[in-house]
Every structure is written in C-alpha cells, then in structure tokens.
Symmetry: C2
Subunit: 232 residues, 2 copies
Amino acid sequence: MVEIAVGLAPVGRDTVQDRVYSELRRALIGGLFAPGQVLTIRQLADALLTSTMPVREALGRLIAEQALEALPNRSIRVPLVTLDRIEDLLRTRVLLEGEAMELAAQRMTPRLLDSIRTIMAEWEEMRLGGDPETVDREVTLNHAFHFEIYRACGSTILPPMIESLWLQSGPFTRAAIYAFAEAGAQDAARFHHDILNALAAGDGVAARAALVADISRPFAYLREKLGKEGVA
Amino acid sequence: MVEIAVGLAPVGRDTVQDRVYSELRRALIGGLFAPGQVLTIRQLADALLTSTMPVREALGRLIAEQALEALPNRSIRVPLVTLDRIEDLLRTRVLLEGEAMELAAQRMTPRLLDSIRTIMAEWEEMRLGGDPETVDREVTLNHAFHFEIYRACGSTILPPMIESLWLQSGPFTRAAIYAFAEAGAQDAARFHHDILNALAAGDGVAARAALVADISRPFAYLREKLGKEGVA
DNA sequence: ATGTTTGATCTGTGATCACACTTGATTTGA
DNA sequence: TCAAATCAAGTGTGATCACAGATCAAACAT
C-alpha cells in the first residue's frame, strides 16, 4: 500500500473515561480541590453527569500516579499538605524539571522557540490585565509554557513524570498564585523571560537556574506560610 | 476508649484488584512478558481465575504508570524496546536512583544497614548456587536490595517514581540478567558491595557512583546487543 | 490478481445490580 | 448521665450484561 496523507495526525479515541480523567486532572492542577478533601465516586459521577464506571477508573489512574490517596477506609482523598511534603516535592521537581530544561536547551529549534514565545505573550497579556477571573486561564497557560519546553527534551519518560509532580503540587499552588497575583507578577514574568533568553542562547545551565528560581518562589512562600500556621 | 495493643501493625485491605495488580507488577518486573506482547483483559482474567473487573482496573493503573501502553486500537501491550528508549530509561534511572542513593547515604542507620546486609547475603548465596531455576528469586532479592535503600532516602515521592522506572525496565532486564549469569556475576556482586561499603561510610558520592556502575552494566550490554540486531 | 464487501468473533467500554464494610446518629442499657 | 449496642444511609468492590468498534478471514466483484 502506498503512503498517503502523511501530514495527518492520528485521530485518537474519546472515551468517557478519558474525559473524566482530563477534567479531574485539570481540576487538580488548577487547585479546585482542597488538600484533604474526600472525593466519592457517586458524587463525582453526579457532578460530571456520567455513571460511576468511568469515574472509578479515572480515580484509579490518579491514585496510581500519586495524585490522589487511597485511605485504608477505602475512601479517596486529595493528599494533605505538610511541610515535609512541600520540601520533598520541590526537591524532586527541581531535579526532574531542571534536567528536562537543560536537555531541552540543547535541542531547541527556532520553530519551538516561536511556539513558546506565543504562549508566553498570551500569558503576559493576561497577567497585565489583572482580572481575577482569568486565574484558570493563567494556570493553563503557565502549564502550557513549561510543558512545551519539556516536550522538547527528547525524553518520552521525563514529561509524564513531571506531569505527575504537577498533579501532586496542584492542590496548594493555587494559594501561592493568588498571593503572588500582585506581589510576584513581575518576578514570575522575569523568570520566564530568563528561561526564554537562555533557551534562545542554547545555554542549558542558565535555563536550569532560571527555572529553579521560577518554581522555588511559590514553594518558598508556602513554606513560610505553613511554618506560621501549621498544617493547612 | 483506652489504648490497646499499640504494637500491632495496621491490617491493610486485600482486594482482588490489589492481588491482580501485584501479580502483574511482579510479572512485569521479572520480565515474564515480552516487549510488544498484547494483553487482553479476558485472557488475563481467565489465567488469574477472576472476573474482568479487577483486571481492567489493574491494567488501568499500570497504564497510568507507563508500565503498559494503550494503543489507539484500544488494545493494551507491553511497550516495545528501542535503542532510544533504553538510553532514555537509563538516563532517567541514573538521575533518580542516584539522587535517592545519595540521600539515603546521609540518613543511613545501623539497623537499616543490617537489614540490607541480610538481603545481600541471601542474594549472594543464591548467585553462587548458579541454579537457573532461582532467577525469579534473584530478581526479587535484587529489587528488595535496592528499594530497602531507596526507602531510606527520606522522600515519599522518589521511591514510587523509581518503581515506575523498574516496571518500564522490566521487560528487557531479564535478558540481561540471563546473559550475565556467569560473565557478570562477580561484577554485580562487587558493585553491590561497593554500594554497601559506601553507605556504611556515609559516603553519598561513592554510593552514587557504585550504583551508576551497577545499573549501567546491563543497559550497556543491551545497547550493544540491540545495535547489532535492530529492535527486538 | 487486486481490491472491496461481508460476516463472525473478539475486544474494551459503560451501565446496573448485589454485597460487604464504614460511618454517624439514634436508641438502649446500666 | 454516660457508655454500649443498634440501625440506616452511604461507600468502594466485584460480577454480569449490552453495545460499539476492531480484526481477520472468506467470498465476491472488478
């Protein structure tokens, strides 16, 4: 058989389970669920207007990815936020995302750089608007900015692992985003610009350093806040 | 209510799904499934003497962990082995396991060291026996040796991620183990001794180096073998 | 001989039901 | 008055069934 239509993308299935999974994942990364919140299958099925079957399988996947926690009671909850866990997450994210960033810097192409700049531009415009309603979109764009880079690292293993870390960070990054809405806006933008410049120069070490600064910022804030209040 | 029987361990549930999951995981790490092999729910359910329900949920978890692959055909298979994938896995394992090892070296206790030595002793005795029947037990002990260390690293995030990498490495490490049964036995033993000595000395850098040598060995062999034969 | 259609079989997906267990409030007992 | 027993509502788990899509071979048409 001759090769036809090489430019087409694979169509990909669209099962109910996948939609439920994507929706829950979006909600987790966006911080719509509170740490410690218990999720029940039937309640989610009602909210999502489906039956319990797709929900329980999606929850099973999220538990396997450490994004949710299965208690011995058989109940399912969003993991708690503790000081230890924050340190742990930050350290692991620096390790993996730093590596992915440095690898990506060595394989950067003008085309990819353009794509990243486009996302960055939209993100910055939104931040300047200062509309609190757009925080969801902001989270999405921030996610897109980082993973557009990580996908360029040449590894098929690293990006899914980093996604898992974002999923675990999700429940308490939103708090930090809100808090930094004014105070840290220019900082975050500066870090992203630093990353972009380093990538354009092909300087992996500088890109890694800028990234570490970028993701350490909200964690440092949370650490300080939790240190005063105890667990949230 | 008064506190009674404080010394008891939590009983922990034992669902059919968990047993299926453990069994599949064991089979994958032990290399019982061939790369590219297609797994069907009903066939596994028959083999495991259960219904399809627990099997499909267990498969869903394994897919979420990247241990299995969901094709657009809706069929499920063990991921293929390619040269790129081998390089990718090795690089990521060195990154994560090296970090875990260095962290563990800084938190090592005499009690844990003893526990590791016990595993090591049993493993070495089995290797000296040279019985090809015991390769399953050998794989299990090798796993126990490494993860007894990784659990000591103080992170709750790192070990599950490393488990996921072992799961992905499983389908083609067995080939390497067989090949090294005679040729590399003393090498592997030496690396494990190096690791143990470094841990006892609290020397994280040396422990990391010994570990990298340990896990690079079978990968190097596979790389060479695949380079000659093409994909397996 | 090549390409198309057809049909039987097998696959994952989702819905529904029964069951065992947890949980929390209510009732019962001393 | 307080602790223990009880009961009802709600939970995840597993089995079973119905269905749409995939697969592959044989029959057919070009």
